[in-house]
Symmetry: C2
Subunit: 185 residues, 2 copies
């Protein structure tokens, strides 16, 4: 894996982007992965009313600078987030877009995958609240293909993080997201 | 207020320290407060099995370095967290300790307040899961006295962050924590 890998999850307030990023950060630090990670969110007057974003930096070594400046992987769940953040993607990086809320493909050089994340949460799982877990499934597939970490590490961290009784709902959402991405890459 | 104010919430896995720090960061950025904030957590091999910590930096201006190096305010919910982190407190800073899980006062120069945070969650509210909300009440009082932000800003952010139906439980926990701290400062 590369020395430093940056991930950003961006969307609107209620989409659970913080929890998604927290789970990626925790998964990276599992014994089996042995990585370091730093997870951040910034808030401020300029962010208000804008898109909400949450970031994770993972690395085998120490992480000096904790923010994502050129994300290797972005998950973008609203048009506003696409407009604001897609342009930052690292050269050769990946963007996963939600096909309900992002209408216009960003005009950037990146591997862009348009997936029915919100639709799957709504229609397959029946609960839009698991949008972030569907997104995590797609993320897990990319991280696996990119050689960053095993998809199981993210799944196990989800199991340990969600409220008791909701494990099945959340892992089903995760698996659907994983499948969506696997069909493409 | 000072140019930069650092807050750290430290405890063990299930105590909700991340949500507490996220809420402080979001409250700082409310229109009425107009501050910038950055909220972070770091994970890694050396953190595994150790104390869990979550940090927020707030400032009127831009925040260059997002981690807390000399926290002005620390909330410490376990003995392990006390042993690891109490020594970092800024000169003239404040430590709020939970009196159930922290048995030994740290030997550091700081304003130390020993409060029944976990006991209040358990016995007054009847739900240990709101430990973090009781802690936030105590934090809100300190931030108010220190001139950083209004306690209402944290309370309103809690209302906007917790699951529907749990608002009363969580704000009651917040208010009990605020009272605990107000009796002392």
């Amino acid at each position: 894996m590369s020395e430093r890998y940056e991930i950003r999850v961006a969307g609107s307030g209620g989409q659970g982007v913080i929890l998604a990023a927290v789970i990626i950060g925790q998964a990276a630090a599992l014994m089996e992965e042995g990585l370091n990670s730093v997870q951040t969110q910034a808030y401020g007057p300029e962010a208000r009313g804008g898109a909400s974003k949450s970031e994770v930096v993972i690395a085998r070594g120490e992480i000096d600078y904790p923010k994502a400046t050129k994300p290797n992987l972005q998950v973008i769940l609203t048009q506003k987030a696409a407009d604001e953040y897609a342009g930052d993607t690292a050269r050769g990086g990946t963007i996963i877009l939600d096909d309900t809320f992002v209408q216009k493909d960003p005009d950037v050089e990146a591997n862009i995958f348009r997936l029915p994340i919100v639709k799957t949460a709504r229609d397959v799982i029946g609960r839009e609240i698991v949008t972030n877990m569907v997104a995590l499934g797609a993320v897990a597939r990319i991280l696996e293909v990119d050689g960053q970490m095993k998809s199981e590490s993210i799944k196990n961290t989800i199991l340990a993080s969600v409220p008791k009784g909701s494990e099945e709902l959340n892992t089903k959402a995760f698996e659907e997201g994983y499948k969506l991405m696997k069909e493409k890459k």
